[in-house]
């Protein structure tokens, strides 16, 4: 079934002992949109993302990601999504090409297609001349672009980006966002977390998580209007002020 929603969750809840990390959240993400998943440190974003990416199971509630059930089909979900985070990206000791081959293999790209896809990807990044360089010797900006390209090498339906631009300077952040735009232009859905509130403005819709719940979800424009705020940063402040959890 070709659904227009690539993520749908209803009453999703995750408890650790008597601590409710994710508290009854329901939302959907439409095919082809950039969805910003915002919230303070400790609001429950990571726990929610782990459930959506098949790494952890909900205590209660249900949902589908890329059409697969998050309770029963987590292995299928993993094959149909891409994931990139600032913390884990590529193997620094391997060359650019080796990294690409490794991840293409892990993501199940058919062997006979691998070479063509890698060449195409390197060409688009203008990095063909660097294919035998070790990743750790590349400038940070290139590493990040490469890591993003690797995360969509198997043409997933959704790519999860967990703070992809943390600690990145303003120029490199913008270049990175243009890559996201390009991928979305080709039909991939992007699910992004960020602490940069200007980046929240680049999203089609954003959700704001406070104490495990989604307190607001709409387009950046509508949220600003609703909260009478001049910027998403202000909306964030208004909502974060209501938080009771201290991380």
């Amino acid at each position: 079934m070709e659904s227009e929603n690539v993520i749908e969750v209803v009453h999703l809840t995750k408890k650790f002992g008597d601590f409710t990390a994710v508290d009854d959240i329901s939302f959907h993400v439409r095919r082809g949109e950039i969805f910003g998943f915002l919230g303070a440190n400790g609001a429950g974003k990571t726990t929610a993302m782990r459930m959506l990416t098949g790494l952890s199971f909900p205590t209660s509630g249900k949902g589908t990601v890329a059409g697969f059930d998050i309770r029963t089909q987590s292995e299928l979900i993993k094959k149909h999504i891409g994931y990139m985070s600032q913390k884990f990206a590529l193997y620094g000791d391997l060359t650019v090409r080796d990294n690409l081959e490794l991840f293409a293999g892990i993501y199940g790209v058919p062997r006979k297609e691998t070479d063509a896809r890698i060449d195409n990807l390197l060409g688009r990044l203008s990095m063909s001349h660097e294919k035998n360089s070790r990743v750790r010797d590349l400038p940070q900006g290139w590493k990040q672009k490469l890591a993003f390209s690797v995360s969509i090498i198997h043409k997933p339906e959704i790519v999860f980006l967990d703070e992809p631009t943390g600690g990145v300077d303003p120029a490199a952040r913008r270049q990175f966002w243009e890559l996201i735009y390009e991928a979305v232009d080709e039909g991939i859905t992007a699910f992004v977390t960020t602490h940069y509130m200007d980046e929240a403005e680049y999203c089609d819709r954003i959700s704001m998580m406070v104490d495990g719940r989604i307190e607001a979800l709409d387009s950046p424009g509508a949220l600003k209007e609703k909260f009478g705020a001049a910027s998403i940063a202000e909306v964030f402040d208004i909502l974060a002020r209501g938080a009771k959890r201290t991380e």
Binding site: N41, P170, R174, D237
Partner: protein, 308 residues
């Protein structure tokens, strides 16, 4: 009075590599100044911090902190300096309180005598005193690291990207803490990827390829912006970005929150109205709005970058 005096500092790692830091001329940072460093990855920010913190020795040049030379008087400097590195460097297996006690004891201090300095920050950690540092969330780790770097009541504090991965509310709290420390007379040098943070500094040094390209107050950097800056919006923002770059008079165009910003080429007489009609006419954009706008520090950064 100067707290930090740098006189042409250079450091190269490995043969045939370009220098990581290559500061020519002098840079003085006053006592009680809040000095920000911005610049792309690989600009040399961390190497500079490490040299000033006496952890890496310079190949040439000198740096003097509170009258002490980083080479000759490194032992003395380590007692008057607080350094919070970019990577979490506390002991994950020790509890919050144990970490703090450990760092105090390293400097021959006890917790109580300097508690006043960290009280405002530590009060938020207090409920988790017995938790292992490795089990803290990102924002809490940062607070603890700051406490540990302050526990010996240093005269100078270095913070290497203290707010990476920290949410907006915690970032603001940290900067409120820094403002209080500054008010107590502490000299603070901080690197950051956030331009709103850089704006809170007395002066900002923009670093690239190991050198400072500009050192000035945020206000003066901004008032020195000498290009016409235009803010543009339409219903199709991604296509708009490419279309704007296709306009001959446009020099640079980049995303800027809910709008795109562009600078016009020197000498261009293109008006806001003309840009609007090209977008609506030639490119068929809907919901177009175009307006001249004032530069921010972020615009200065984006355009400085281009000049290099």
């Amino acid at each position: 009075m100067d707290s930090i005096v740098i006189h042409s500092l250079k450091k190269t790692y490995g043969k045939g590599q370009p220098p990581a830091v290559d500061i020519r001329g002098d840079l003085c940072i006053s006592k009680g100044e809040l000095f920000g460093i911005i610049g792309p990855d690989g600009a040399g920010k961390t190497t500079l911090f490490r040299m000033l913190a006496t952890l890496v020795s310079p190949d040439s040049g000198t740096a003097v902190l509170e009258g002490y030379d980083v080479m000759a008087d490194y032992r003395k400097i380590r007692t008057i300096l607080g350094y919070m590195p970019g990577r979490f460097s506390l002991y994950s297996d020790l509890s919050v309180r144990e970490n703090l006690e450990f760092f105090a004891s390293v400097f021959g201090k006890d917790l109580e005598s300097n508690y006043g300095l960290i009280e405002n920050i530590y009060c938020r950690l207090k409920p988790f005193e017995r938790r292992k540092a490795g089990k803290l969330s990102g924002g809490m780790k940062q607070k603890l690291a700051l406490c540990c770097s302050l526990i010996h009541s240093p005269s100078i504090l270095f913070l290497d990207e203290p707010t990476t991965g920290v949410d907006p509310s915690s970032r603001r709290e940290l900067w409120e803490n820094l403002a209080q420390l500054k008010a107590s007379g502490m000299t603070i040098v901080v690197s950051t990827a956030y331009m709103d943070e850089a704006c809170r500094c007395d002066r900002v040094g923009m670093m690239k390829s190991g050198r400072f390209l500009t050192v000035d107050s945020p206000e003066r950097i901004i008032s020195g912006f000498d290009r016409r800056l235009v803010s543009v919006k339409s219903d199709e923002m991604f296509r708009l970005l490419h279309d704007l770059r296709g306009i001959g008079d446009v020099d640079r165009c980049y995303t800027f929150g809910e709008t795109h910003h562009l600078t016009l080429k020197p000498g261009s007489r293109m008006t806001v109205r003309e840009i609007g009609s090209v977008l609506a006419g030639k490119y068929g954009h809907k919901g177009v709005s175009v307006a001249e706008t004032d530069a921010t520090l972020e615009d200065c950064y984006m355009n400085l970058e281009e000049k290099l």
